[in-house]
């Protein structure tokens, strides 16, 4: 094979540019992206401020952005914020990890066998309509008010979206992958680990993202009800005390933490796998 010189499908034209202008371009792109990202948030804060000013709302109804931010001081000094945040993060991490670890093999199993998937799909679908919080009264009776009950609720909430999406991911995988490997002598277990698992990864990550997002919400709700510490409990306490600056601050914190989980955990995994393999779903 000497006749044709191989050419990559994706040419990297920027690589030829000198370092100076290229770096400036990269900074500029980052700056523009940041500005675009922040714009809606700035707008939201502006609206918040305007509503408070126009209707002359007191702090017991709606705190100002400044009041919300200032409420952090005492929370941090007392150590409450760090403790409760840590507690919630530990719960979502543990529940999320176990949920993904349990949901993925279930999904692979369901996806790889038509009969099994046809049998269990209706059940799986039904369970998706049953929120984790709905289990709370029952599980609470079994395990009491505490971390274990919160964990069960998160686990349940994370497992089903992961399992369901993994199943769909395997079922929509082109048959050519497993056929190619079967003609090279691959057995079922090899296909499991070398086709279905990596092939379903885009869907598994999608399921994980959904599952963790639902799980994070369920966590807050469960903590509010359960009197078992965590950010949800803090929110509930602040509500009882009509401490609106803390309430609003916490709501912001929950959103920020979620973005952090998504950016720091899920995105890098995606970059290293799905995006690198050219399998991202748009």
């Amino acid at each position: 094979m000497t006749g044709t010189a191989p050419q990559p499908a994706t040419s990297s034209a920027t690589a030829a540019l000198p370092a100076g202008p290229r770096r400036r371009t990269a900074w500029r792109v980052t700056f523009l992206a940041l500005r675009r990202t922040l714009l809606p948030f700035v707008a939201l804060v502006a609206v918040w401020w305007a509503v408070k000013a126009v209707f002359g709302l007191g702090v017991s109804v709606l705190p100002s952005p400044a009041q919300a931010v200032r409420s952090v001081g005492p929370l941090i000094r007392s150590g409450v914020l760090v403790d409760y945040t840590t507690q919630s993060l530990e719960r979502i991490a543990l529940g999320g990890a176990i949920g993904i670890a349990v949901g993925t093999p279930i999904g692979l199993l369901l996806g790889s066998n038509r009969l099994v998937s046809m049998t269990f799909r209706p059940l799986l679908n039904t369970m998706q309509g049953l929120s984790g919080i709905a289990w709370l009264p029952l599980v609470n009776g079994w395990l009491g008010f505490g971390s274990r009950t919160v964990l069960v609720v998160i686990l349940y909430t994370v497992t089903f979206p992961v399992a369901f999406n993994t199943m769909v991911g395997v079922q929509t995988l082109p048959i050519a992958y497993s056929n190619a490997l079967r003609t090279m002598g691959a057995g079922r277990f090899y296909l499991f680990t070398h086709v279905w698992l990596p092939g379903a990864l885009p869907s598994i990550l999608l399921g994980a993202r959904l599952g963790l997002a639902y799980g994070w919400r369920a966590l807050i709700a469960a903590e509010m009800v359960l009197n078992a510490g965590g950010l949800g409990y803090l929110l509930f306490q602040s509500g009882g005390a009509r401490n609106t600056p803390v309430i609003v601050f916490e709501m912001i914190l929950m959103g920020v933490i979620w973005v952090f989980i998504d950016r720091a955990l899920l995105r890098p995994i995606e970059q290293q796998t799905v995006v690198r393999w050219g399998m991202e779903q748009r």
């Binding site: 191989p6 050419q7 079967r182 003609t183 090279m184 070398h194």
Partner: protein
């Protein structure tokens, strides 16, 4: 006659194959019916026929990825009951793993066969060089052009070293120059390795150029219409030389007319 293959014995036997796709919702689609033929060891058989006549289905049956409802396929005298590493397939859709690099894809057959790492790397390096993809070893399929992917798929099957190679329109997706290069490579490899090859193509040109024999199929449900000998030794196959070769051109016209008669 056909120097290299005339004395060799039979490698593949298709015996009265009948194959239909069945589903609950629709009527069964009969892809093949009453298909019988033989392929000699070391032979390169080309299969042509109108689109949808069951060529890919035939490849699946020989590969053991599908089972005929009637008849059977024998390879080395044994009935095919499932896929096996003795029959390698180059698929129309390629089926390269997007999550594996060029090296990873080419070495996968050896990995499945539990060939030790060092030996595997050696073989992979040899095939990477053969398909001219040096420098692209760590690239992923989506970073390659269509022709490069095609060559990786070919190398993957060759590296697994099957005795039978089943190729389903392997050069359909590549540009004209690359196609000619790949065809020459295939001829050279087939002479060097003595592999038995069944190659499906929609190009009469390609079939006549590559095949020891060309099997023409009828439109669906596919049957064997005729099998035409191409009595030119492989080492004499050269597009420039054959362009003015009267007997070769006559054969090409004969095959073209035979296929054309099957089009609606």
């Amino acid at each position: 006659m056909r120097g290299a293959v005339s004395t060799a014995d039979t490698k593949i036997v298709a015996d009265g194959l009948h194959f239909a796709y069945r589903s609950q919702e629709r009527e069964p689609v009969v892809a093949l019916t009453d298909v019988s033929f033989e392929v000699r060891a070391g032979e390169l058989l080309c299969v042509v026929g109108p689109s949808g006549c069951g060529k890919s289905s035939l490849i699946s049956l020989i590969a053991g990825l599908a089972r005929p409802q009637q008849g059977r396929v024998l390879v080395n005298g044994r009935t095919v009951r499932g896929p096996g590493a003795d029959r390698g397939v180059v698929f129309q859709e390629l089926g390269l793993m997007p999550w594996r690099t060029v090296n990873g894809n080419i070495g996968q057959g050896l990995e499945i066969a539990r060939v030790p790492r060092a030996r595997r790397d050696e073989v992979v390096a040899r095939f990477v060089a053969m398909i001219g993809l040096g420098g692209f070893e760590e690239r992923y399929p989506h970073e390659l052009s269509g022709g490069m992917k095609q060559r990786v798929a070919l190398a993957r099957t060759l590296a697994a070293d099957p005795t039978v190679m089943l190729m389903d329109e392997p050069f359909a997706a590549v540009d004209a120059q690359t196609r000619v290069t790949l065809q020459k490579d295939l001829l050279r490899i087939s002479m060097q390795t003595g592999k038995t090859i069944v190659l499906v193509t929609h190009s009469v040109e390609e079939a006549a150029f590559l095949g020891d024999r060309v099997m023409v199929m009828t439109r669906r449900p596919g049957r064997v219409k005729e099998i035409i000998d191409v009595p030119i030794p492989r080492e004499e196959r050269d597009y420039d030389a054959l362009a003015h070769d009267e007997p070769f051109n006559a054969l090409r016209v004969e095959i073209t007319n035979s296929v054309r008669a099957e089009l609606w």
